[in-house]
Symmetry: C2
Subunit: 244 residues, 2 copies
């Protein structure tokens, strides 16, 4: 399993992904699920992936190498805008499906992949997409400025309550880490370390890449403080007088 | 969809269930999913149900009417202990599966049911069970003093963090309502009103039954205050200095 979250803020794009992969509960490994494409001063993109590792790695290779759309072969360093980038990732997913899907199905396995793609090209605004296994995609909006893939439920309530496009980048990092913490606590197949990526608006470069594990002082403090805060908030609530 | 949670505390048993049923998103109704069996001074039990409404209603009818186990037909008012009560509910589930399962499968429908059963009989300690669609069941323990059925993920983190068997009943009610609130916010197929049931240890009677809707002053206050508390707790957290 996997948990990845992407935030589309006025100030830029943030993604956070875990690194645990498992083929059964007795075969657990650490694989990065975050990939960046950067041409400084021109474009910066981040992809995070969930699903079958062979499929997601194949997609990542294809989008670097080039995929044909409407007879034109381009890679993510060449596409003229983020919509085209999302189309390219979708086309890569379909290409892998065409190659591997029939055999996977013949062996009773699903074709399981979903990808977050965020970033900015030139003077166009930053955008954030979620590409599905069918190669189609949706885009984050002002109403819903975050997208999630993988084990999304545990980490969703805090985002629903607090996040807005006006959230500053450092607040967004804190929120993404809280959302990840809730998921790490409740689902063993989502595991540390986690990979944080920040693309500040108009920087046209990756502003921050950070791998965070249990020894990271800020994340360790955040996890402990958040847990204490929730307990304190719960303790401070009034109790019902229904039992007499 | 449904969300039901049951708590097994030193002080007694608490259950909370929502009331929304849906056959597709355009056919939504309100049905109680909480049922009690009470013989004052002798036994008090509560069942909450998730899954196919025809199946859960059939099970509820059978456990009142009587189901044969090892040649002896008993109902929930007659079983000698809570383990036998859980076996009886399991046997009822299997009886409905034997009757309806083949036709459901022939029409491409699953046999979908899960049931929480909590309560106390005589001088034996209170117990809490989760009965599966196969009729087998698990029991809450000191390490894991709560069980959930239906849409369980959104409401699990707060229980993981705070609940213990020593939690008093009024605290347990507050926790169950917070857990329900998180679920109501994130899944539209879980809906108000909710049904709260408390069986105080050694009361051998249902201590509290309360239907709670959006006009309930305590629940309305709790939802608002909890939401504010989470926002405040988040605002009070330090931010990382990673962005310079």
């Amino acid at each position: 399993m996997t948990y990845c979250v992407g935030l589309l803020l006025d100030a830029g794009v943030i993604t956070l992904s875990d690194t645990r992969t498992n083929a059964g509960v007795d075969n657990i490994s650490t694989f990065g699920k975050t990939f960046v494409v950067e041409t400084s001063g021109e474009r910066a993109m981040v992809l995070t992936t969930a699903g079958n590792l062979a499929v997601t790695q194949a997609v990542w290779n294809l989008v670097q190498e080039g995929v044909a759309i409407d007879g034109i072969t381009q890679n993510l360093s060449q596409v003229p805008n983020m919509f085209r980038a999302a189309q390219l990732v979708g086309a890569a997913v379909r290409q892998v499906f065409a190659a591997d899907g029939p055999t996977l199905r013949a062996q009773g396995l699903g074709f399981d992949v979903s990808i977050l793609l965020g970033g900015q090209i030139g003077t166009q605004p930053p955008r954030l997409f979620l590409i599905y296994a069918a190669g189609n995609f949706i885009e984050a909006t002002v109403e819903t400025p975050f997208l999630q893939i993988g084990e999304h439920k545990y980490g969703k309530p805090i985002l629903d309550r607090v996040l807005s496009p006006a959230t500053p980048l450092d607040d967004g990092i804190t929120l993404a880490l809280i959302s990840m913490d809730s998921t790490l606590r409740s689902n063993l197949t989502v595991g540390l370390p986690v990979d944080l990526t920040v693309i500040r608006r108009d920087a046209l470069a990756v502003s921050l890449r950070r791998r965070i594990d249990e020894t990271d002082p800020y994340f360790a403090f955040l996890r402990q403080r958040w847990s204490e805060s929730l307990r304190e908030a719960y303790r401070a609530l009034p109790r019902p007088d229904w039992l007499g």
